[in-house]
Amino acid sequence: MKNYYNSIEEFNNVPGQEEEKFEKEHKSAVLELFEDDIAKKPSSRRDFLKVFGFSVTSAAVLASCEKPIHKAIPYVIQPEEIVPGKALHYASSYFDGHEYASILVKTRDGRPIKIEGNTLSVFNGKGTSARVQASVLSLYDDARLKAPLSGNSPISWDLADREIINSLADINNSGGEIVLLTSSIISPSTKRLIAEFGAGFTNFRWVQYDAVSYSAILEANQQVFGKKVIPDFRFDKANTIVSFNADFLGSWLAPVHFISSYTSRRKLDEGQNDMLRHIHFESGMSLTGSNADQRIPIRPSREKIILANLYNKIADALGKEVFDVPECDLDIEGVVAELLGNKGKSVVVSGTNDTSIQLIVNAINLLLGNYETCVDLDNPLNLANGTDAAMEDLLKDLSAEKVSALILYNVNPAYDFHSSEAFVAALSAIKLSVNMSTEFNETVGLCKFECPVHHYLESWSDAEITPGQLSLTQPCIHPIFDTRSFQDSLLTWSGVQTSWHEYLKNSWKENYFPLSKQSGFEAFWTGSLKDGVYAYSGEKLKSPEIQYGSIAAALESVDPGQEEGFEVLFYPSVSLGNGKHSNNPWLMELPDPVAKLCWDNVAAISPMDAEELGILTGDVVKLGENFSIPAFVQPGQAKGTLSIALGYGHSQAGKVADKVGVNVYPFAKFIGGNRKMGFSISQIEKSIDKVELALTQTHHSMEGRAIVRETSLSKYLKDPASGNELHAKHESNHQTLYPDVKYDGFHWGLGIDLNSCVGCSACVIACQAENNIPVVGKSEVQKRRIMHWIKIDRYYSDSPQQPMVVFQPLMCQHCDNAPCENVCPVSATNHSSEGLNQMSYNRCIGTKYCINNCPYKVRRFNWYRYTNNKAFDFNAVSDLGKMVLNPDVTVRERGVVEKCTFCAQRIQETKLAAKLEGRAVADGDVQPACVQSCPSNALIFGNMNDKESKVSKMKADPRNYHLLEELHTLPSVGYLTKVRNVEE
């Protein structure tokens, strides 16, 4: 068996941050709940009597208080579709300027409380990402702007409109330029509206700006194919993927879309016995790199030379023109052979924002004929439309005071633009500046007018993610604050009387209704709203001749890259993305899938460099003037590189995000027509400071027992049970004195395919939203008190230089022979006749015996009351933040144990629906939140008594095993061994 480890400290067998602290804490842990000065004093019998007397008296006084009078307030006129106590689902679309998803919004009593994927969508299906799951909480963000502002003083919409309209007219009459700066817009109706709005002025410019830019891909495709598009990568059609720094499973472009197509070719069920092979070149340890079959750490500056050599070797083999490029010492023969063997069935992709690199990538894909199949230019992804040069030009014009009016929408250049200082300075000189933002952010307050816009759950919109794939966004709640949609503002300012809702309807009536061949528009409209998606086949753009000129130019100017010093690379993290949603406490406390770190960003450093420089995890390092950041020793990090997550270090975004981590956007640079997310330094300075990071990797550890089982594809094909030999052995050992328990009716079980799980963490947030799981904050996370009911364990194996990684979702295993149950002195946890390990909060007295006796460490203790507690002021203190709570799930009190319930409320709900309809519960009807959110279908839930159910078939698979099955706990959760597509 391989040696698995959680951290570099564990690998080196030295105490890590966690263990050191644990040693220290052990001595004084008893009275930790009290303030320090109380804890120091010895407590006596008299103290006990005092406390006892006080509690008895207060209990008596409390009991004698007035009983609260509960009101039952009905509607005056009840809307037809609303039944109190029943959830309503609305189809809608999520788009935040960066990521897109077609979704269903679950509302209870008029409040959106949960986001699910829209199964009718061909783009993302039932899957969602953690960011999409958490977006419902952003709706109830206290920090949001609540009304329009003029400068810093409140203003009415009417007055603001009048002033803006007059000002725009003045500027237009004097020939001044009016600029609209927005995030990427993928709504076709909004694009039409912007065109109409712009047509009203003589001098109008529309600039789209992305915080994390994909400009180079657009540029390269423009130069080669004459199309300024981002192709869709069809991983489901590929046999080989060679990726360079593209974190397509984590945060690059459309992760949910890519995860579902990627994992569809990594499964080994239903007779499928081949897998795509994934080779990944990268500097930092990304989620995608962790899933690769072969991962090669490289310096970012070496990417171009490797790609050029790759091109030459393939071209050579195919008898095409070879360019004169420097030799590269990396052995890439295997990659070349792999790609040549899968011509037309492979994808080469790069996530680096460098046009020449993207040109070479295009050249390789052209050589291999991948554009016919796996790289789809005809159905491009309509995401990230911003070009970096356009933004640079705008900055130049702003600084030169050539722009008279600037209207900002959904952008935050004061935070995420590399020349933010110049931008902010230029803003003050502009005659008219208007900012339209949903979130409270650094740009708010810099413009003359703040016209806050609705949250997407409050607004109308549409989206066209790929040509012909339309979806609608509809409001699911009445606007909470005095906000107005961006489009309504544009309509008002262009003097049009129609509302945006009407405009959108008309836009669909004119453009898409005629294509639908339906008889009535209203039926077409309500049908599209109900489904959330609508597909039509539009005309394909004719591709012009392919231009090889720019490719040749790119290949002729390849530099050998940097060998000395350090290269720093920035990346959007899986949890916070580009930093737009940093004030979302769920996302802030979501541990990074690989580093297992939350509430901070760090500079990930390679173990070799760390050893050389004597840097340990938590040491603060200096990367230049005013740039200090804690280091984190990351296995797999390329030597000579440092990776830092974007999205942290906000100064004005709300109580959660402010002053957490370091903002690295200002260190990005505009080089060669593109924004480069990174820089180089000659050396790192280690400071004497040390910080404690909130690392969850060693929390609730299973102490290194055989919990991950893996094999290779070749071995699997010979013997499906390979790597899982222990299972048969332990099964044969299972003996018991007790009679077998038979489950009549339901016996719920969960199957987890380790091959499909990529570790995207959508399930973690889905579970948090569904089950009212509290956010506990950084210091509590450091004390190992994170409350997540499901966590994704990450294990490394092999050398820290080139580790292999396994992700393993872990939740309550619902053991049929549960060790927690028989140690509970009050029977607060016991077993149900449906195989659920039940937890009754009101019985629990908090002895924590169950936590001690659980071999899987999946039980969580409420050390504090996290609701209505000022010390945990994240989202469960204000009335607004609490609106996200699921009314079907109890909010736990201090002092009780909680854990995964298999979403008992959903099981009960589904059973009841079946009873009311007088039918049996069908397989797949019950979907716990984690299962429903999973983009890769790695989790399957069902009734194990039904031999035809998917979960039963999974349990019968030779790859199936249970965690610590030698303990005879008989878990209801089963895992399928991980199969890697490697030669062994």
């Binding site: 008596a60 006084v61 009991a63 004698s64 208080c65 007035e66 009983k67 009078i69 509960h70 009101k71 039952a72 307030i73 009905p74 509607y75 005056v76 006129i77 009840q78 039944v83 109190p84 106590g85 029943k86 038979k742 009549d744 009716g745 339901f746 016991n830 149900s832 006749s833 449906e834 659920l836 039940q838 937890m839 009754s840 909060y841 009101n842 019985r843 079907d888 799930v889 109890t890 909010v891 319930t901 008992a904 409320q905 009960q908 059973k911 009841l912 079946a914 009873k915 009311l916 007088g918 039918r919 049996a920 519960v921 009734n943 008594n945």
Partner: protein, 405 residues
Amino acid sequence: MCLLRKSSIGYIILLLKIMGMNLKFAGKSLSLSLFFIISTLLFPLALFSQDTNSDSTANVSSHETSHEDLIRGERLFYGLVYQGDKSVNCASCHNTRFVDSLNWNPNAHDISVKYKDKTIKDLTTVLMRPRSEKMAQSHKNFDLSETDILMLKAYMDEFAVKGLKPEKAIINRLIIFIIITLLVLVSLADITVIKKFKYKWVHLIILLGGGIYITDALVKEGLAIGRSEGYSPDQPIKFSHKIHAGQNGTDCLYCHSSAETSKSAGIPSTGVCMNCHLIVRNGSRSGAFEIAKVIEAYEKGEAIDWIRIHNLPDHAYFNHSQHVGVAGLSCQECHGPVEEMDRVTQIADLSMGWCINCHRDKEVSFHDNKFYEVYRDKMELMKKGEIDSVTVEMVGGTECMKCHY
């Protein structure tokens, strides 16, 4: 001395106010006794404390009307001005205090508020020549002079501000509890410190009897904490289930329409009331006054703040559709004979024991619903005749996570 008396009474009233709810529907609450003990201790303090506020708050609207007018208006309202056959006691029909029983007539506060902004002429019309049949009957032979009505109006205007007086406390059991507690304390004191009383056996009787009584009271009251069996609060509108569901025979589901399909049975929206009350404007018991409240709320688009009677704690999940829709229970099994209640009273204590007991005995309609086919073993046993019915408990109906999650 008058001042002192006033302040001490005010003190007690304040205490009673704090006790409000308990006093009202559990007049014998133990908790009240606790407060009473404290209050008796504090009583002398209150007697000697200076009260500066009592007089300044007494005459709220003395600017427009003289104090004498108010006094006379009050006496008129209570029927204390002798006018021979003509004397009327308004307070005999229109409560001036909170009461525990149901009075169909609008209380003094309600009418005061209603006529506060209306003219003397309006008040005269409604007093002497009311349009509604019911009122015409009760206001028959009213003969009030214009000055009388003026003074009445003055008193009513003041009443509209002051609100109803608190309920008269019923404290029988409480007095017994206090007396027994004091007796026990005295006898304990005699045993330990004073040692004056010769007949020691009396102490034994007092301590034994008192002990039993106090324990009994503590246990009973302790068990009742958080339960409100018999809770029957006054609703903002005197809606009678007896008239609607009983006499008129309206189906429960007409108003509580989601009981069969949803978790919540649903409180009817005002719009549902208006289905009938667009036409029906006169009640047989309350006249036009109560129905007018519904119509007014509907026209203004305001919600009616009904007081919720059946409250379950937040950690207990209850679903009406499971019980009404699937199991086909009648509403009365849990809510009692609502169709006989003018004012709804909580019949069951809604305790967990009450739920569980029912789940242990109730049979599941095993053969009528295809859902239950999943329980193959039980189906088999039934076929064999080894069991003749399946209770809720047998399909897991008494397990924790069926109601708590």
